[in-house]
């Protein structure tokens, strides 16, 4: 599913400089949380969609956007938009690559996600060695968006970004 975005081109590089505080390699643009950024009368109105309801990163992201624009001499106002709800499909291909490089397995399709988290199927690829001989340790990981896996080949634990759709 594609994202409905309305972002003025001259604001893009500023938004791209803001990253997810918990996954610093991922920009908020690659995360797919920015819906709209429009400058009117010297104020940039930014609409963002929360990933998980209780995600403490959202407040930080809002503050970081405001300060990124402040550095560029612009005033920004943040509005949270709940609908349509954020989905992991909105993470860009570049974002998925950044996640994997960082050691977090990128979300699978909803069906495969279910098989991995509920059916115990060995399909989540270890981010350390690439083996699919992995098993779920916990549906809930270090943050709301992740599940914890362990690789049976290299024995390393790693995070899996849960599919949200």
């Amino acid at each position: 599913m594609s994202i409905i975005q309305n972002i003025q081109p001259h604001l893009l590089s500023i938004l791209e400089s803001v990253s997810d505080p918990e996954i610093p390699v991922l920009s908020i643009m690659d995360m797919g949380v920015v819906r709209e950024a429009i400058e009117t009368d010297g104020i940039v109105q930014v609409k963002i969609t929360p990933t998980y309801s209780g995600c403490p990163a959202m407040d930080v992201i809002g503050d970081d956007i405001v300060s990124a624009f402040a550095k560029a001499g612009k005033k920004a106002k943040i509005t949270l938009v709940l609908s349509p709800a954020w989905t992991t499909d909105w993470i860009t291909p570049r974002g998925r690559k950044a996640l994997e490089d960082y050691g977090i397995a990128a979300p699978l399709s909803p069906e495969a996600d279910k098989d991995a988290l509920l059916g115990g199927k060995k399909i989540v690829k270890c981010t350390n060695c690439g083996s699919t001989e992995t098993h779920l340790v916990s549906q809930f990981g270090s943050t709301a968006c992740k599940a914890l896996f362990k690789c049976d080949t290299c024995q390393e634990p790693f995070d899996y970004f849960k599919c949200l759709k």
């Binding site: 809002g62 709940l82 709301a144």
Partner: protein
Amino acid sequence: MTNNSTTDQSSLPLGEMSEGQRGNLHNYILGIADNSLILGQRLGELCGHGPSLETDIAGTNISLDLFGQVRSYFQYAAQVSGDDTVTEDTLAFMRIEREYKNVLLVEQPNTDFGYTIVRQFLFDAYHLLFLRELEKSTDETLSAIAKKSIKEVSYHWRFSSDWIRRLGDGTSESHERVQEAVTDLWMYTDELFHQTEADQAMIAEGIGVDTSKLKDIYYKMISDVLEEATLEIPVGKYFHKGGKQGIHSEHMGYILSDMQYMQRTFPNMEW
């Protein structure tokens, strides 16, 4: 719980509502939110005290999801109140016990892991069914919050129902203890479907969920898992209620004294 962002306003013409309608909507939103608030607080108590690292993290993650949902509800309730002094923080921290509208189930203590999981299981099933209906609400804000929350609550339900199976169909010790929790907490399930005046007014408006239609599905949903877990489905016909009217169990005062401590000690403090 303060930030510089605001939630997108719904197209609901709040200005066109009568005082009475606003009051009912306000109370209706609090009724939904307080369940998640108090359950979230109970789960938060386990932070650092879970029986294992994974379950500890799971409990706090679920708690965090619930608090996130509560914030959306409270921000909306504050808007509906039309009173500038009402904020998400005052709603969470500055009310007195009788003003909280959560069901008795969610305030029951973390007696042991069996009780914690059964409480979660009994609530998650209801929560999921409820949100699926709330998504169809004519109130756009409530519908949007529900839509977002369903995804998270599906994970909660997976987690709690999975543990019911593991504990029920586990060792004789785990079976016995989880059975005790099921038998004990069963008497709090009926209240989930009890309708207050605000509930009925909101159902009539197409805003609220007619929970009476969910009751049979609910008991079927939990009974299926209990059977699979080789647990007995309680036959007790006596049920407690009162929480929705603000008449809480003896546990509530302790929860609030803990939860409200910082705001009562340092009024208007912010993170």
